[in-house]
């Protein structure tokens, strides 16, 4: 029921005209027709107003239910992804293990071409497995509330660990690798495993998109210019770069900059979405500066022992 309180000023005739007008338009006049001086107060209600109000309320309820269902579906989707990728790992593990048993001649000697063929089976299976691991990590981070386990660590050590993990790839491609850590950088206070995950992911992308000839990757750790007591790590490469119009999109799940690149460069398109999740959980920022053909510069921030809780971070 819609109710209006009207106050009409002016000669009494005006009130009468108003009453007729309202009645013609379908209002019910519930008259406490009190007069105060020349003012007239009246409560009116309108049936059609009532109905449209009710249908608006119903619509809001329906939207709310639909939203709740979407959220449930999203959790269900992530759980499904987690289950499927878990199930996919088992047969792949068997393929890899049997492959290695064969490759290493435990069931009889292989000639060189046979060994190469088996090695290809193993290599491809491991590649598939690492993609499945990525999907699993993503699904777990979005299906369940992830709790951070913050510890104190030195950012320089973290960069060294990340470099060591990719050292063979860097060497194989002949990429130059430089690190700069600001003097007096405070001790980090964050979930080390997750920050390491972010850094190795960015490093992996940089390695993949940097040319073998003249490739250069620079990792810099410094105090954040924007947020006092926060650490900012940047990973810079001189590779193919990313068109600014794609900058926001690449942090979304399942995104690949374009399909031709997807064909050239494998990957699930989940790495950066996971990285973003992990950084946002810390209240930090992640982003990039890049132009096509001019390399990319990714950065992310995380707290140190000197950080004060941030306000308005998203």
């Amino acid at each position: 029921m819609i109710e209006l309180q009207l106050t009409v000023r002016g000669p009494r005739g005006n009130a009468a005209r108003l009453r007729d007008l309202l009645a013609r338009e379908g209002f019910t006049l519930d008259g406490d027709w009190a007069t105060e001086g020349t003012a007239l107060r009246v409560t009116v209600s309108h049936e059609s107003g009532d109905a449209s109000l009710q249908s608006a309320a119903r619509e809001i309820e329906e939207l709310d239910a639909a939203l709740r269902e979407l959220r449930n579906l999203d959790v269900a989707k992530s759980q499904f992804l987690a289950n499927v990728s878990h199930e996919l790992r088992t047969p792949l593990t068997a393929i890899v293990t049997y492959g290695e048993v064969l490759r290493d001649g435990l069931l009889g000697d292989l000639n060189d071409r046979q060994r190469e063929a088996v090695q290809s089976v193993i290599g491809s299976s491991r590649q598939l497995l690492s993609m499945i691991e990525e999907i699993l990590t993503y699904a777990r981070t979005s299906a369940t509330a992830i709790e951070l386990e913050p510890v104190h660590f030195a950012t320089a050590d973290l960069i060294r660990t990340a470099h060591d993990m990719s050292a063979s790839l860097i060497r194989k491609k002949g990429i130059r690798f430089e690190t700069t850590v600001e003097k007096g950088l405070p001790t980090a206070a964050a979930d080390r495993d997750k920050i390491l995950h972010v850094l190795t992911n960015l490093l992996g992308n940089a390695i993949e998109f940097t040319p073998a000839e003249g490739g250069l990757i620079r990792v810099v750790a410094e105090r954040s210019a924007k947020n006092r007591g926060w650490i900012c790590v940047t990973v810079e490469d001189n590779g193919i770069g990313i068109d600014p119009e794609h900058h926001e999109m690449i942090f979304r799940e399942f995104a690949q900059v374009d399909s031709s690149r997807a064909r050239q460069h494998h990957g699930t398109g989940l790495g950066l979405a996971i990285a973003k999740n992990f950084i946002l959980l810390h209240g930090g920022e992640i982003g990039l500066e890049s132009e096509l053909g001019k390399g990319s510069r990714f950065f992310f921030t995380f707290p140190s022992v000197e950080s004060e809780p941030q306000e308005g971070a998203d």
């Binding site: 790992r89 088992t90 593990t93 068997a94 890899v96 290695e100 048993v101």
Partner: protein
Amino acid sequence: MTETKDKLPLVLLVEDNETIRGAFVILLEESGYRVRAAATGAEALSVAVESQPDLILMDLGLPDLGGLEVTRRLKADPRTSDSVIVALTGRALETDQQACFDAGCAGYLAKPVDTQMLLKTIPEYLGTENAK
């Protein structure tokens, strides 16, 4: 190897997937170990008590008892507490490595295990790397 068949180290492989179990049995037998296998936690407990293996490779995702629970029980039982137990599982985000050590595992290997690495590591766990 020059030892008699009885002296070869005995490895108990606990893994619920039959195909993967088969692969590891070949790997270990062809590399000179005696191998027993178990598909469930309950089976692992009874085989371990009966055979007292030198090393147990323990898959953590078992259908009945979890691998960590089996490990705790084996470590609490004086008949099996001397067996070295190494956990086999997925990657670090899933299982707390500390939980493995707390349960009594001597080590932790991510699946799919690199078989060459595994064969290199087993003697270290058995403390026999110098005995060869």
